[in-house]
């Protein structure tokens, strides 16, 4: 029995040293992350029907890279968590010869940080979300007819936060 206890202690030592290396410090993909802004596009002439966008280039105004969306009526774009507003340029039919039409939307909000766990850290949610269409002189370039905020609190990506009519 004594011998068994010695072996027990030794094997517990080995088990512990292996276990201590296996940390739960890797952020699992299933963890909810900072949500993106979900926008759904509708036909301005027939507001009940969603309408796919073609070669829509979305670019944050200070960013050099744009995100391309094709043949979809719902898009999700990130908001800056270290600022209280994010300005995006929406360029539809960007691959047409004319270069398509351009509109600028300004999103403003406040962020709320929520602790997730030791591996992922904190996520940011958005409250008091507002959207505004920037007025540009070149009216013939614009394409967005109307926007409508559906959710003022953005804390997940399963809801649509903004409706856009064109």
């Amino acid at each position: 029995m004594k011998k068994g206890l010695v072996y027990g202690i030794i094997s517990a030592f080995v088990a512990l040293s292996i276990y201590s290396c296996e940390r739960d410090d890797i952020c699992a993909e299933a963890i909810v992350t900072t949500p993106k802004l979900v926008i759904e596009f509708f036909d301005a002439n027939n507001p009940g029907n969603s309408k796919n966008v073609n070669s829509l280039l979305v670019r944050e105004i200070e960013n050099d890279t744009a995100i391309l969306f094709n043949s979809t009526s719902t898009i999700a774009i990130p908001l800056k968590t270290d600022a209280i507003e994010t300005k995006y340029i929406f360029n539809i039919n960007s691959q047409s010869e004319s270069g398509g039409l351009i509109d600028t939307l300004n999103f403003s909000y406040a962020t709320v940080e929520t602790y997730l766990n030791r591996a992922c850290g904190f996520k940011a949610d958005f409250i008091d979300f507002r959207a505004r269409k920037e007025s540009i002189e070149l009216d013939e370039m614009n394409w967005i007819r109307d926007i409508q905020v559906r959710e003022t609190a953005i804390d997940n990506e399963s809801e649509t936060h903004l409706y856009l009519f064109y």
């Binding site: 206890l5 992350t33 944050e60 960013n63 968590t81 270290d82 997730l116 030791r118 591996a119």
Partner: protein
């Protein structure tokens, strides 16, 4: 402040034990008489003071850790030891999304029970023990990164430097270990710890990532684990004569 009182209590209760045992010793010395076919030997009783080597070692090789632990046990009866540990730790959780420093002190009190039958004259131990542990500490959340799976914007790292002080935790700990007499009154020991948190201060919108004495916590469990290697010195206080029959 409270911790100071706890230390005083701990030390004075050990001193109290000394006193009582030295009284008890008086009448027992002459009760043994020489009987043939028996061996007599002195069994040492005293206070064993130890230093945790693993914490000292880790303080050297791990830049994110500083710690010190002293342990003491007093042999109360043949196999029962009153035991305790006192320590201080500073540990930094330095990972991709969070940098957090925990700093504080702890005390553990309980008993060890020796289950090993020594050969004549030897003083080794294989023991199991139980402790009540208490820690008083603070956390400093130095920085964190807003977690996102999207990389369109550069990482948003917040150097917040928020302190959460006056945190406390208590737990029950099971220990199992060995202690070997290396020479004279010096001993080397190794033990493992398995613990379960009883209570821990709640932190609003954050968590206790590390508790001194308990070591790291787990997000969805109150279980903890640890180990220690120690060197210790036995201050002999008195000895009991033990007889053991010899087979012919």
């Amino acid at each position: 402040m409270n911790l100071k009182l706890t230390y005083t209590y701990f030390i004075s209760s050990i001193l109290l034990c000394f006193g009582m045992q030295s009284f008890a010793q008086e009448n027992s010395t002459d009760e043994y008489e020489q009987v043939s076919d028996s061996i007599f030997f002195k069994d040492k009783y005293g206070l064993n003071i130890g230093l945790d080597l693993s914490r000292i070692g880790q303080s050297f090789w791990d830049l994110d850790y500083q710690g010190l632990e002293i342990s003491a046990d007093y042999r109360y009866s043949e196999n029962l030891y009153i035991a305790g540990e006192l320590g201080n730790e500073t540990s930094t959780f330095n990972e991709e999304n969070i940098i957090n420093e925990t700093d504080g002190s702890y005390i553990k009190l309980g008993v060890n029970y020796n289950v090993y039958d020594n050969w004549i004259g030897m003083q080794n131990l294989i023991y199991v023990g139980i402790r009540y542990g208490f820690a008083s500490y603070s956390q400093n959340l130095q920085s964190y990164r807003i977690y996102t799976t999207d990389d369109y914007f550069p990482s948003d790292i917040r150097d917040v430097d928020v302190s959460f002080s006056n945190l406390t935790a208590s737990w029950i700990e099971l220990q199992a270990g060995l202690r070997v007499n290396i020479f004279d009154n010096f001993y080397l020991g190794a033990h493992i710890q398995l613990k379960n948190m009883i209570s821990v201060s709640e932190i609003n919108n954050f968590d206790n990532l590390y508790v001194p004495g308990f070591r790291r916590t787990f997000d969805n469990s109150s279980i903890g684990a640890g180990w220690g290697y120690s060197i210790s010195y036995l201050i002999p206080i008195y000895s009991k004569t033990k007889t053991q029959a010899v087979d012919n």
